[in-house]
């Protein structure tokens, strides 16, 4: 079975490394982008559509919410699960993200267990 792909979108390099590491441990091959626009360019360049994208909320150039809206406008990304990973913990943000098409929401800081639990909730396989 092919290794599942995950795209980590976060303007913090440290957070991208942490998430990348955790996802590798869960059996994912990861790709990184520092903002929503960069993530869209990556998706357009790449032939493979990731199973999952982890999306930060506050980022320069294009924030997480705009990325979610842009991705959900295109039918080719319908199957890609979008997990918002953010320190924005207000219910209002959650509602906005879910309404825009995010599948789940994980608040920072989080444990590896919490990430695994969200993947399970999304019906995604992990090691």
């Amino acid at each position: 079975m092919a290794t599942p792909q995950a795209l980590v979108i976060d303007d913090s390099r440290a957070m991208r490394l942490i998430l990348g590491d955790l996802l590798n441990q869960l059996g994912y091959e990861t790709h990184e982008a520092g903002d929503g626009q960069q993530a869209i360019s990556l998706l357009e360049e790449d032939q493979t559509i990731p199973t999952l994208a982890l999306v930060d909320w506050n980022m320069p150039v294009m924030n997480g919410l705009d990325f979610i809206k842009a991705v959900r406008e295109k039918t080719c990304y319908t199957d890609m699960k979008l997990l918002v990973v953010t320190s924005e913990a207000e219910v209002g943000h959650m509602v906005e993200a879910l309404t825009a098409g995010a599948d789940e929401y994980l608040m920072k800081p989080f444990s590896s267990e919490a990430l695994a639990s969200k993947l399970e909730m999304l019906g995604l396989r992990h090691a």
Partner: protein
């Protein structure tokens, strides 16, 4: 961290066995050292041996209760395992709604509810997926031996780590409000659960009703065979003949238990009185 003297470890093991029927193995002293650390800091300047001695010699029972509570396993989280989807939504609730359509009543018992995530998960699920139950008499009773866990459960207030584990974002948005760094369950869900202090290996309240569904997940595995049989025999009397008993993933029952398996998955097993 101080090391527990063998005689103090033995006192602790006896206390746990006597109070909550939990049998702590010989080689788990390190667990006690880790779990009693905070209580020892509070009462005996971090000295765990002094804490156990103080509890044993205490004329009152308070410190012994705190010791047992600190040693208890409180592992729980919202919607623990997808068993909720498999068993509740697809099977149990629809089936019971047909069986109880005349009396329009459902009684559910979360028998070792710890800090409340299990009964609240059920309450959220019923509210979200079964709006037709609005006119029914639905009782969700949640119990635990630990007063500390029950106080937290009753408050319906959870921190970030608890909110991140198992709770779908949609339910978080629908049923919680943020208060500073914590999340408060809204009354529409909180009020659906009533809490009681019940120690499963001691006398149960006489007014406890008979239940349609009992959740006894990841509890029996800590008991001796004798205690397990005792609890199951009482549970058999507390269950409706066509009701359900849910156990954890690592648990199963023998034929002699008075329950027969209805279905099993990797997330848990459910049984009915035989």
């Amino acid at each position: 961290m101080s090391e527990i003297h063998p005689e103090n470890y033995s006192h602790l093991r006896n206390l746990l066995c006597e109070r909550i029927a939990v049998h702590l193995p010989d080689d788990k002293a390190y667990l006690a050292e880790a779990r009693l650390h905070n209580l020892a800091r509070e009462h005996t300047h971090g000295d765990i041996n002094a804490l156990i001695e103080k509890a044993c010699n205490d004329t009152g029972d308070e410190l012994r209760c705190q010791l047992v509570e600190a040693m208890a396993i409180n592992e729980t989280y919202f919607f623990r395992d997808p068993i909720f989807n498999e068993s509740f939504i697809d099977h149990m609730i629809p089936n019971l709604m047909t069986l109880r359509r005349k009396e329009r009543s459902l009684k559910i018992w979360s028998a070792a509810c710890s800090t409340g995530q299990e009964p609240y998960s059920i309450a959220m699920l019923l509210e979200d997926r079964f709006p037709e139950l609005k006119d029914w008499d639905v009782q969700i009773i949640a119990s635990d031996f630990s007063r500390k866990s029950l106080a937290k459960a009753q408050s319906g207030r959870y921190g970030l780590t608890e909110m991140n584990r198992g709770l779908p974002a949609r339910f978080m948005a629908l049923y919680f409000e943020q208060i500073d760094l914590e999340w408060q369950l809204k009354p529409q869900i909180r009020d659906k659960v009533s809490f009681q202090t019940i120690n499963l290996v001691q006398q149960w309240p006489e007014d406890l009703p008979t239940f349609d569904i009992v959740l006894l997940r990841n509890v029996l595995l800590y008991f001796s065979i004798a205690d397990r049989n005792l609890v199951l025999s009482k549970m058999r009397h507390q269950s409706r003949h066509d009701g359900y008993l849910l156990l954890g993933a690592a648990e199963s029952l023998e034929k002699s238990s008075g329950f027969k398996p209805v279905s099993a998955s990797k997330y848990g097993s459910f049984y009915q009185p035989s």
